[in-house]
């Protein structure tokens, strides 16, 4: 299963956000989108999902232009995890996750026992089975984000597009979600996610695309792409990219010069 964009211009009617993006998303791969706020990550994702029409160029799913595909067929292949938000009505968590089954349920139908089982498995997989009878509007923002991911898993997609899935999570849940992403890729699912944290790219990204002012500047393996120079260009801040002693993981350390005042300002002993 391959989702690809060819010379894609994207944005809203009368307001172009980005242009000239060509990208391939392949099964079993984790592709990260990294870029500053307003760089066009969310808009690009919505265009890849067919939620926004391409202003120019095409989005192809195994060679077929998604413009010609029905939403239901597309939703069985491509799942979407939007940024966590408040629902308008106090649905139970299980009801929310069941909505992920929509593409598998006939137009006039309702979820079956089998659909419920899939939804509960998705909750269990993310370690939030205990939330199933809770009210979606009354759980924490991090829990809501996990519920959104569970809903996308209940969709049983082959390709999963996630908009900042770790943004509102605490440290532990961030790592849990990154672990899930890696596990999904091992199971053969293609995962695209956007993030503001280059460390997350090092932790589980196979490739990373740098998105800046609506243009894709670079794409490739994280080690080759995420450098002090590229981060400086992207974010305008000084960062060191450090290899950990295990020679496997890298991490980004902001240059602390002028940030932390060692010893200064502390009361004298």
């Amino acid at each position: 299963m391959t989702l690809s964009a060819e010379h894609l211009d994207f944005g809203y009617r009368g307001r172009s956000v980005g242009s000239g993006v060509s990208i391939d998303i392949r099964s079993g791969e984790v592709l990260c989108l990294l870029g500053p706020n307003g760089g066009g990550k969310t808009t690009l994702m919505k265009t890849l999902l067919g939620l926004l029409p391409a202003l120019a160029g095409r989005v192809l799913l195994d060679g077929e232009d998604i413009v010609h595909m029905r939403r239901k067929r597309l939703a069985r292949i491509v799942g979407y995890v939007p940024q966590a938000h408040l629902a308008f009505f106090p649905f139970a968590v299980l009801d929310i996750v069941l909505m992920g089954r929509s593409a598998h349920i006939p137009l006039f139908g309702a979820p079956s026992q089998a659909d419920r089982a899939v939804a509960e498995r998705a909750l269990g997989r993310l370690g939030i089975a205990h939330l199933k009878t809770r009210v979606y509007t009354e759980i924490s923002g991090g829990e809501r984000q996990l519920v959104m991911i569970a809903r996308a898993l209940a969709q049983e997609p082959r390709i999963l597009i996630m908009d900042e899935p770790t943004a509102s999570l605490d440290f532990g849940n961030q790592l849990r979600v990154l672990n899930q992403i890696a596990a999904l890729a091992r199971a053969g699912i293609a995962v695209v996610f956007s993030t503001h944290d280059p460390d997350h790219v090092f932790l589980c990204g196979d490739r990373v695309a740098l998105l800046h002012d609506g243009r894709m500047e670079e794409i490739g393996p994280p080690e080759a792409i995420i450098t002090a120079a590229s981060l400086k260009r992207l974010y305008g801040v000084d960062v060191q990219v450090v290899e950990l002693p295990d020679h496997e993981t890298r991490t980004c350390v902001p240059s602390v010069h002028g940030l932390r005042r060692r010893g200064e300002g502390l009361p004298a002993p």
Partner: protein, 332 residues
């Protein structure tokens, strides 16, 4: 199940109570005798006047209250979910204003009751059609926001037209009828009226029932619902058409009865939750029971009939404020 059993029981009690209460009280014994004779065919042994009051006068009116209340509550639940806004009522897209203008014009030209009803029905549907087409012409923006704002503008425009007709109307013969119609009343309803609007209400109910689970997805918003595989445009048209049909049919016989479509869905959500396949029947039962109670009050509390719109507002507005103040923030 309890969420449906209690409203059903309440509706049943209200039904019996409303048959018995009124200017011509019917004792419980007589009422049971009349009902029993209808079921078994045995002679009831009560006076013909009692039979007439129960079957010819009260029953059509009770049936109308149940039908109109259920229709307005179902339409309100649909619109609130569709527009993701708890402050939405069935007249959000101008149904009430359109139906109002149709009826007022009908009264102005001294049409028959059937003519007034037909114009009200067509006015309601025409207003929503105009709003929908206006919204569809402004593509590329949030379709829901455009619809709501176009609906507000259309409602104001039609309201001005209603005012104009009121100014031109004969203040002695026509104006009272117009005012009474705009405040809602079930006084003049006959069985043939009901037979005329029942099909429209039922036709509107069919898509709501068939698509009751899909409706939940519409509350997620256009983009998310589409990402989950829903053809939102088609469903939105269907839901709007169904709710508009029900509202127009109801309003054409009852006049404008406010507040039911706004507060009943909230009350139903409190007892049955927001999941639409459970919400819809609960809202319809509550709407039917509420309007029946209010109408019974309207015809028994004073020497003259009190317009229903006044009572629903007097009861509905404080209830809404109470909800706002005390209910867990269910809609956020």
């Amino acid at each position: 199940m309890l969420a449906l059993a209690l409203p059903l029981l309440a509706l049943l009690l209200l039904f019996l109570g409303s048959l018995a209460l009124g200017k011509f009280p019917v004792s419980p014994h007589d009422l049971l005798a009349v009902l029993w004779s209808k079921l078994t065919g045995a002679p009831s042994g009560v006076s013909a006047a009692v039979e007439t009051v129960v079957w010819q006068i009260r029953l059509p009116r009770i049936a109308a209250a149940v039908l109109v209340g259920a229709a307005l509550a179902a339409a309100g639940s649909t619109y609130q979910g569709l527009f993701r806004n708890p402050l939405v009522s069935p007249d959000i897209l101008g149904v009430a204003a359109g139906a109002g203008l149709g009826a007022v014009v009908g009264i102005f030209f001294s049409l028959s009751a059937v003519g007034v009803q037909a114009l009200a029905f067509l006015g309601g549907i025409g207003a929503v059609l105009a709003v929908y087409l206006t919204g569809a012409a402004m593509r590329g923006r949030d379709p829901i926001l455009v619809l709501v704002l176009a609906g507000v503008a259309m409602g104001t425009l039609l309201g001005a037209a209603i005012s104009l007709v009121k100014v031109l109307a004969d203040p002695y013969n026509q104006l009272p009828a117009i005012t009474f119609w705009l405040l809602g009343s079930l006084t003049a309803i006959t069985l043939p009226d009901l037979r005329a609007v029942l099909p429209a209400v039922l036709i509107g109910l069919v898509p709501l029932y068939l698509l009751r689970w899909r409706m939940n997805l519409m509350t997620l918003g256009d983009e998310e619902a589409r990402a989950l595989g829903v053809e939102t445009r088609m469903l939105r048209i269907l839901f709007i058409a169904a709710a508009t049909l029900m509202t127009s049919a109801a309003v054409s016989v009852s006049g404008i009865i406010g507040w039911i479509g706004l507060i009943i869905p909230h009350a139903a959500r409190l007892i049955a939750g927001p999941e639409f396949s459970r919400l819809l029947p609960a809202a319809m039962l509550l709407g039917a029971g509420y309007l029946l109670a209010v109408d019974t009050l309207a015809r028994t509390m004073a020497e003259i009939e009190v317009p229903i719109g006044i009572l629903t507002a007097f009861i509905g507005a404080p209830f809404f404020l109470w909800l706002l103040a005390t209910a867990r923030r269910g809609w956020q």
